[in-house]
């Protein structure tokens, strides 16, 4: 008997949605002591399946056909009271964002305690013993402090460990993990993945692991099921699916995962630096009426340079100061110390009025394509804003906007449409076109592809590469993803706690890292033992792409 069996599951979408069914006719099993990865891009219905299994589907998404069996017991027909008993006891779930899954006004200890109390452990001493044992199991140091902490006082990784401890509390037969590491840094992610494998082995649990990341799949899965627009296109053993994908979609997805091996570039451009920083620092001070002043060094003594036609990668985890650096470079904020030379002019301390004529030379593309475009302005309005600010007439600017849309691969008819009519990848193309509209020398891409699905990400990366070559741009590419950095960057600077810990050519830094932290980052990259991205590498090589 399988721990979980899903048979012909079909979940209807409300009328007016982009397709009739969120999930159509999906069947798979998860055996005991097995980790099955459910892989798919956004909108593939993978989270809906998890919710259907847990009986947590919103009323608008009813299960229209099919059955779900947990250890042979049919869940789709079970009464709500029975489902409530099973949740937690026989099946448990961990979520992507542990901050929102935990109650912010209860200490972690109280939440664990409540869970045990509701499921019938009455003696406080017994509950406490069990809680401490659980925390030991998820390798949380200093359990007393953890129990007394509120969720916001813990780090993302610690919160996710608390969530896992809660999921393990009642020894469930099935653990559903819905993108549990997506919100975490890569080093934390690798620890959490290890932990999940460990507890799964120890308890002989079945794990249904939902992810969009093939690196994670390579790291953790026994078997893989690939979803596309609500349909199961392929499933099989991990090695089979990863090395010999049968379905075109799977093949495309796997080929889109960038390789960790830096792409070789024949010659690096020479010439003067287009953008250069010297000992750049940004310190945030928190002034309080009482008590000491608190200083946060978001960036310290950053010295970097990038030439035209070259891509400088800035790599680091969250809180490393890479976004602060980007915003300093674009002079959206004023650095506290140091210099920024934009083609010889020091802009580090320029006043806003003096800065405005220079702004056209350095442009920035942001991470979130859904917030980077004013929802009340058409694409045309967004694209002509910059050129008109720099003295072009409306007609000239519109003509340029049309050309730019063609350059980024969008139709000319897009000009009169509003941002909400475009997908995330298309919006990011519009943002790139908007940045290019003022003909910059330096383009900063601040996590510009991180919010995109892997197949779209590959396209946008190709576009950026193409543009850099055509327009001889100096590009500053900020990312947390070493794979992406390896594919697009010529030089790489690794940031850790505001400092650049290693700076050199991509081939050197990513293949023979000298700094301890860089080595740890590389070691933590999921799926590094697996040769991903042969196709992406080919596409990125000059001459063969586009």
């Amino acid at each position: 008997m399988s721990a979980l069996e899903v048979r012909g599951l079909t979940v209807a979408l409300p009328r007016g949605a982009d397709r009739a069914q969120a999930v159509s006719d999906v069947s798979f099993q998860v055996e005991k002591r097995e980790i099955v990865c459910l892989v798919g891009e956004s909108g593939s219905g993978k989270s809906v399946i998890a919710q259907a299994i847990m009986g947590l589907l919103p009323a608008a998404l009813p299960v229209s056909r099919g059955q779900v069996f947990l250890e042979g017991e049919e869940l789709t027909a079970a009464a709500p009271a029975r489902l409530r008993e099973l949740r937690g006891a026989r099946m448990a779930m961990i979520f992507q964002e542990p901050m929102t899954a935990l109650n912010p006004v209860m200490t972690c200890g109280a939440q664990l305690d409540e869970l045990l109390l509701f499921h019938g452990r009455t003696s406080p001493a017994e509950r406490r013993k069990k809680i401490l044992q659980l925390l030991g199991e998820v390798a949380l140091g200093d359990p007393e402090r953890m129990l007394a902490s509120y969720p916001h006082q813990l780090s993302g990784g610690q919160r996710q460990r608390i969530m896992i401890a809660m999921a393990l509390a009642l020894e469930p037969a099935l653990l559903i993990a819905d993108e549990p590491t997506t919100a975490l840094d890569v080093t934390t992610q690798s620890q959490i993945l290890k932990l999940i494998i460990e507890v799964q082995k120890r308890h002989g649990m079945a794990v249904l692991f939902i992810t969009h990341d093939f690196g994670v799949v390579a790291e953790i899965a026994d078997r893989v099921a690939v979803l596309r627009l609500g349909e199961l296109v392929e499933s099989g053993r991990r090695e089979e699916v990863l090395s010999h994908p049968r379905h075109d979609y799977t093949r495309m997805l796997i080929a889109s995962v960038p390789s960790l091996k830096p792409a070789q570039r024949a010659t690096l451009p020479a010439g003067p630096a287009a953008l250069e920083t010297k000992k750049l620092s940004k310190t945030y001070t928190e002034r309080r009426w009482l008590g000491p002043r608190r200083e946060v060094h978001a960036a310290r003594d950053v010295t970097l340079a990038v030439r035209r036609g070259e891509t400088l990668g800035i790599v680091g985890e969250s809180g490393s100061g890479k976004s602060t650096l980007a915003r300093c470079l674009a002079r959206l904020i004023e650095p506290s110390e140091g210099d920024i030379f934009l083609g010889g002019t020091n802009i580090a301390r320029s006043k806003p009025a003096a800065l405005r004529p220079l702004r056209s030379r350095i442009q920035i593309v942001f991470q979130d394509p859904y917030r980077s475009l004013n929802p009340r302005r058409t694409v045309a309005q967004a694209l002509i804003e910059g050129p008109v600010n720099y003295g072009l007439s409306r007609e000239q600017a519109l003509e340029r906007a049309g050309r730019l849309l063609a350059l980024v691969g969008l139709e000319g008819s897009s000009l009169e449409r509003y941002p909400h009519q475009f997908s995330g990848g298309q919006r990011q193309r519009i943002c790139i076109a908007r940045a290019l509209a003022v003909e910059p020398e330096v383009l900063i891409a601040d996590e510009a592809v991180s919010a995109l699905d892997v197949s779209v990400q590959a396209q946008v990366l190709r576009l950026l590469e193409d543009i850099r070559r055509k327009l001889e741009l100096a590009m500053v590419f900020i990312t947390h993803d070493l794979r992406v950095a390896a594919q697009v960057c010529d030089t790489v600077a690794v940031m850790h706690r505001g400092r650049v810990v290693e700076y050199g050519s991509a081939a050197e830094v990513l293949v023979h890292p000298r700094d301890e932290y860089t080595q740890a980052l590389l070691a933590a990259a999921p799926g590094r033992d697996f040769g991903f991205g042969s196709a992406a590498q080919e596409a990125a090589r000059p001459g063969s792409g586009a």
């Binding site: 919103p58 405005r356 804003e385 908007r434």
Partner: protein
């Protein structure tokens, strides 16, 4: 837009207001007489009674007093309909003034950092005084006229609008599209009015409807207290004030203007609720998740 008019609160509130607007505009053609006319022979008539009224030229004409007459022999029906004009003008004008000043103050406070402290402390100061007292003081300072009353009612509303706009600006200015506009060299004024303001419209419209309702009420209170518009202008407030003395014997003097006042404010607030549910996506989500 279609979604807005599909909402029943919007439909009901808007149609009630359109009807009131029609009454106000068409008041002279709806069987009314000049609201200032009186006739000693037609004093204290009950609703529906026929009587006579003396015109300005001195002729005496027959007239049916649909809502009765007051102790001067004036036609309450005519006075209530003409009062609709005052109420709607005061309500809309107050909202316009409060929104206009509040938007400018809010944008400045939210976007120009050194202005934030002084402006907001000034607004806190205004908020510390009860709205009705400010209005009474201002009308007492100036001569009682329509513009004075409008400003007197609008001024205490300004801090609320300013606070709303400022809070919206503070979140919107961190949006990447605003930062993108900065890096495209867009000057601050253009960013404020071109990028930030259009994204504050929905909550502002909602706030505006509440100001309309509130202003109509305050105007009626001022007139009732005798510190509003001059007594020769018929308003719901002063009709009620004049009828108050005889309320036990002739309740219709207070009843009809009161019903109009209540219905108008109710209509405005229902419209406001409907607009909030449809225009303000954050609130709408909170009402019906997903």
């Amino acid at each position: 837009m279609a979604r807005v008019f599909a909402n029943w609160s919007v439909r009901i509130g808007a149609s009630a207001l359109v009807f009131l607007l029609f009454l106000a505009i068409a008041a002279p053609y709806l069987g009314t007489v000049d609201p200032t006319l009186f006739d000693a022979g037609s004093r204290d008539l009950t609703p529906g009674q026929a009587g006579e009224i003396t015109t300005l030229e001195g002729d005496t004409v027959k007239h049916v007093f649909l809502m009765g007459s007051d102790s001067f022999g004036r036609d309450i029906y005519s006075r209530v309909l003409y009062g609709t004009r005052v109420s709607l003008i005061v309500g809309l004008a107050c909202a316009a003034v409060a929104l206009a000043v509040g938007i400018v103050c809010g944008l400045l406070a939210g976007y120009v950092r050194w202005l934030d402290g002084p402006l907001m402390r000034l607004m806190d100061g205004i908020m510390a005084i009860p709205a009705i007292l400010i209005a009474i003081a201002l009308v007492a300072l100036w001569r009682a006229s329509l513009p004075t009353v409008i400003f007197a009612i609008a001024i205490p509303e300004i801090p609320r609008v300013t606070r709303l706009v400022r809070s919206l600006v503070l979140t919107l200015r961190e949006e990447p599209y605003v930062e993108a506009a900065v890096s495209l060299g867009t000057p601050p004024l253009k960013i404020m009015f071109g990028h930030i303001l259009p994204n504050t419209i929905a909550p502002l419209i909602v706030q505006g409807t509440y100001i309309v309702g509130f202003a109509i009420l305050i105007e009626a209170i001022l007139s009732f207290l005798g510190v509003g518009l001059p007594p020769d202008v018929p308003t719901w407030g002063n009709i009620m004030a004049e009828g108050r003395v005889q309320f036990v014997a002739y309740p219709h003097n207070v009843f009809f203007p009161g019903i109009f006042l209540a219905a108008t404010v109710l209509a405005v607030n229902i419209l406001g609720d409907g607009l909030r549910d449809t225009l303000d996506p954050k609130l709408a989500k909170r009402v019906e998740p997903e």
